[in-house]
Amino acid sequence: MTRTSYLNWGLYVALMAATMLWLGWGKPLNITGMFITAGLAVGSLYALGGIGMVVLFRASGVLNFSSGAAGAAGAMTAWQLAQWGVWPPLTWAACILVALLITLAYGRFVAPLLAWRETAVKAVATLGFALILLGLVAFTWPDDPRAIELPTDSVGLSLLGLRVTGTRVMAFLASVLICLGIYVFLGRTEIGLQMRAVANDRDLSALLGIPIVRVETIAWGIAGLLAGFTGLMFANLIRLEPVVITFMVIPSIAAALSGRLDNLGLVLIGGLSMGVIESMLTLSPMLKGVRPIAPFVIAALVLLYNQRGSRLLFAGRS
């Protein structure tokens, strides 16, 4: 990493901290703390969604709009199984398994048909898949208030005089640990090395004898596991509604963009800070109404900042 990129990191963190300080200024500490913890939980979900997206995008060049829909399908399955009285841990496993199978099916059978198209078209194709999933899920489970409960909901942790539910802590820890885990996986294992090679140059990697299909399938698998886990957490922490979970991909893309679809650490920091700022905007009487806008504004600013000084020239970046 170069010195400039350290500077950029520092600048980003300082800006976010300044924004949080400005929003929380003069408010009682326990209220600010409450919004920060709530924001960290939501931000972890954005970050998890973004991490899945970046791992897959780097390995296969596909920006997966269908991860939210796969998570929604998993979460609804888990809810249905719980209604039938299945042992709870099995329902959670089913949620992740369903999302994994759905994502793998697309990655193995549909995505290769589009491998030669431009990235934007590949991304739009996953949207087609997301629509199919959303249609089927919403058809099977018509609109109705539902919820998924986790045993961690009733476990409370006391942090600096604040009571935080176990689920929120779990979401936050999971996002940090998964980010670290994937970083180590990509850096230390052979599959990780192959994945980085494929991300760098697909054709050259194939010539070197790297099993492209296997590497890509593993990437789709990781994306599927993360989609299932994020779907389950989202259903518990925010809302169990197929449309809402499906279009959670849009703020996840914002988190992925803050890491330029490339850097997992930045995705984590970006996602977390988006969640916290979104939540803390509630404290501002003027901006309270538009608070879900935070991820988009932050992502757009990061993108514009990254493009500064560059000119659109030959060969291009896209």
Binding site: L113, L131, I250, A254, V290, F296, V297, L303, S318
Partner: protein, 330 residues
Amino acid sequence: MDRSLFHITPSGAAGLIFAALAFAVLPALAGSFWMSVFTSAACFTMAAAGVGFMYARLGMVSLTQVGLMGVGGWVALRLNYLFDLPFEANLVLAALTTMVCGWLLALPALRMRGLYLALVTLMAAGGLEIIFATFQFPNGGAGFWGVKIGSTDPFRGPLLAQTPEAFLRYVIVMTTLGFLFIEAHRRTAPGRAWALIRRSEAAAMAAGVNVTLYKTWAFGIAGLLAGASGALLAASLGLLDDGTFRSSESIMLFALAVVGGARFWLGPVIAAFLYRVLPALLSSWGVNANLAYVIFGVGLLHALITAPNGIAGQIFDATRALSAKIRGPK
């Protein structure tokens, strides 16, 4: 003036005949429910033409088109309640304001391509969605946002078209004008510049084409069409709802423009038909509305995998093959 500017191709003739038929037949056939469905489909045809044109001519993916329609609709409603201008003036001002918004959106486009450009426009759509949901659309209230609780003040439609039938005809004429506007650009200097940029930006720059100007121009045209269609939609309904302008709708409209076939005039028509008329048809047949999503999704995947030129491309290929068969071997 360039003579080829007014040359009518067979496909163009078919388009004009189609518009004339729609103008003559649709309002006479449809009942009041279908009238509103067709009117909104005609509005979305114009918006889809804008997004399809950017994709087909420049390879730029814009995922903000429906959001920009919302901007056009918002401006038209705001002006309607603020001043006593006729509808046409509101329409033009709304279209021009949205064109300026299109230019603003073009700023990042000058430095980004492909997926990144698409994602920046998606972020803009996400932002607009939340602004619309928070502040709602003006309905005659006081203040800048002009929202009041309860009944909505009347919206002044065009003087020429006071009945729903006449308004549908009005929208069809406007949409046809939108198509002709794009086609006129395609046949003059901007079109040649776009063709060169699409092939290779490097070649275009080397040939002295102002890439920045012409890309911005394309965004402006897409914005203009979105603004006009948003204003027409506002006039047809008299009020607007933020649910119409979600960012997911913008993605959907782009997807359907690809399914329809962005390179042909028929493409946006098919896109708007799928977007507005098909769900209405399905619900009138008693099919669950969620299954429309499944049909869209399957159609989208099928079109992307098997038909890069969309349904319109397949139709035109089929007619060409048919006419070759009728003429017989040479």
